[in-house]
Symmetry: C2
Subunit: 336 residues, 2 copies
């Protein structure tokens, strides 16, 4: 049997914790024998949830943590002070080698700060990007950076491109992924100071498949597999994708309910439409990895349901088995 | 009778020129007696198009221009060299006072450069922003800047907020428009160097109704009436809106055609849906004004059809009658 993949899961993080988080953890261990989950959080609460389910007890462990970091807390302070919180405990399990990865739906800030401060960066990685998988018309793209650190340098964007290529190829399974630089025009000379300086770095990097600038309009059509940008822009791309899809679907539902005729039609199109729209939801693809750390840190939506938690835990298997961090060290660090 | 509003229209600009542009011009003069259109471009071509229609001849004039600036041409060079092009001629009509405004579906770069170089900025305006009206769930917002000049300064963003407020109130008719700063979080301390410096300037400006930071996710829900950002971010917001809506509608149509049952349903929902989606199209609201110039310059989509050209011409009436430039001078310049 292959080595187990140990995943720490922050049982107290997110809007639907602990109910949905614990359910997702159970679903993950029931789906794959290779996973062992370490649930961090209040033992009594977690135990009560676990009692609802049947699962292989050897694949589940509780690590007690008394405190919870709330979404509104200043992250640096919270990570420093709440040593006995579910997030910090999960981070320490990765730091000390007990776990290979961790999954949290908790405070994004705390996960980003904790990832860097407790788990720590791979030596040579300048900035660990948060890299959500986003849906497009043809499949999915990896968008990085969507983290909290804005105003990146060109050398950091080059590292994002390399780390993103490794992840996309080895975890998501896209061969020779096409790397695009998010920009306001396709021509090489377009953009701001950052994109103009970054373009030649990407173009001259033999280890990535750089296809040039990508305009935001073409992102939903799958113009590139790995989308490179600094975090402010990445955040706007991600949030516009979520906001426009959400608003449009709401509007379409409203439109369908506006006449008697359309209401009858709506009943008939509903099943097909539901299937179609599911593929365009950002929540279908598990959480966003924070790349370049000594272990995998996965941030899922604050609103995560069991399915997203489960998918996030399962993606840690490929991460470990494909030796992503070894590849990142070879591609990103040794090349520098 | 009120004074006529003279609008120069670049008859050769855009993918559907001259056919749709001339048709739009005819539709505009037939819709409103207050407008006179000056069509710039090759006289023989324009004449041939005009012969298809009936309209009041006093409201239409042709100004011959031999050359056309193509979309691919470097704008600065094109504006400088092609003095006898339809765009440059239209710009000169505004510059010399013959026209109050101009509408072009041609090269965005040439329109932006020509606007600044030929029409000229209002004294005191640091940078004229391109300000498209974008649809949201509640109505519309004005997004500025979406132009070609990136890396703006905080003082420029403050001017955008003031000019956008004037336009939104006087042309679009939104009283006391809510101004939002596009950012990656709602808290004051969030963002990059630019937004952090801009926030207090907006907050301390008594002439605008600043409501704080707006996350991209909330833009489609109508979180603010005037959305202030630098041009790279504005471009990403606009293009994501267009791209995600386009891709999603395509996907929904595909989903509706996937089963026999859903095909029947699609026939029934189609009329209601068409109406709903029309309100969410960026092409329904006329072109984007370039604010802060000595005259109004309106850039419409390259793919403009007659309807967008017509709406763009008609919006020039409110611009003149509401004395927008006088208000911009008072609010933006005298305050500095």
């Amino acid at each position: 049997m292959a080595e187990m993949v140990n995943v720490a899961v922050d049982a107290m993080g997110g809007d639907n914790a602990p109910v949905e988080v614990v359910k997702g953890a159970v679903d993950a261990v029931n789906a794959d024998r290779r996973v062992k989950v370490f649930l961090t959080g209040r033992e009594s609460v977690i135990k009560a949830e676990l009692q609802k389910y049947t699962y292989n007890a050897e694949q589940m462990e509780i690590v007690h943590a008394e405190e919870v970091i709330e979404t509104g807390e200043p992250p640096v302070m919270a990570i420093r002070r709440k040593k006995d919180s579910s997030i910090v405990k999960a981070m320490q399990l990765v730091k000390d080698g007990t776990c290979d990865a961790l999954v949290s739906a908790g405070s994004t800030g705390a996960v980003l700060v904790g990832g860097q401060v407790i788990v720590g960066r791979i030596k040579g990685v300048e900035r660990p990007p948060l890299a959500p998988v986003i849906p497009n018309m043809k499949g999915v793209s990896l968008l990085l950076d969507c983290g909290a650190n804005v105003d990146a340098r060109p050398s950091q964007l080059l590292q994002f491109a390399k780390m993103g290529s490794v992840y996309m190829e080895s975890v998501i399974g896209v061969k020779n992924p096409r790397v695009g630089l998010v920009n306001i025009g396709v021509e090489e000379e377009k953009g701001n100071a950052l994109t103009k300086e970054t373009y030649p770095l990407l173009q001259n990097c033999p280890e990535i498949n750089f296809i040039g600038n990508v305009e935001a309009r073409d992102i939903p059509y799958g113009a590139a597999d790995v989308l490179v940008c600094e975090a402010f822009v990445g955040n706007v791309v991600l949030k516009m994708l979520e906001g426009v899809s959400g608003a449009l679907v709401e509007r379409i539902k409203g439109g369908m309910m506006s006449t008697v005729r359309s209401k009858i039609g709506a009943l008939l199109v509903k099943p097909a439409l539901k299937k179609t729209l599911k593929g365009f939801s950002t929540e279908e693809y598990g959480g966003a990895p924070l790349l370049g750390l000594n272990g995998l840190v996965v941030k899922t939506h604050g609103s995560s349901k069991a399915n997203e938690i489960k998918n996030s835990i399962l993606q840690c298997i490929a991460f470990k088995e494909q030796k992503i961090n070894q590849k990142i060290k070879e591609k990103v660090v040794l090349d520098n």
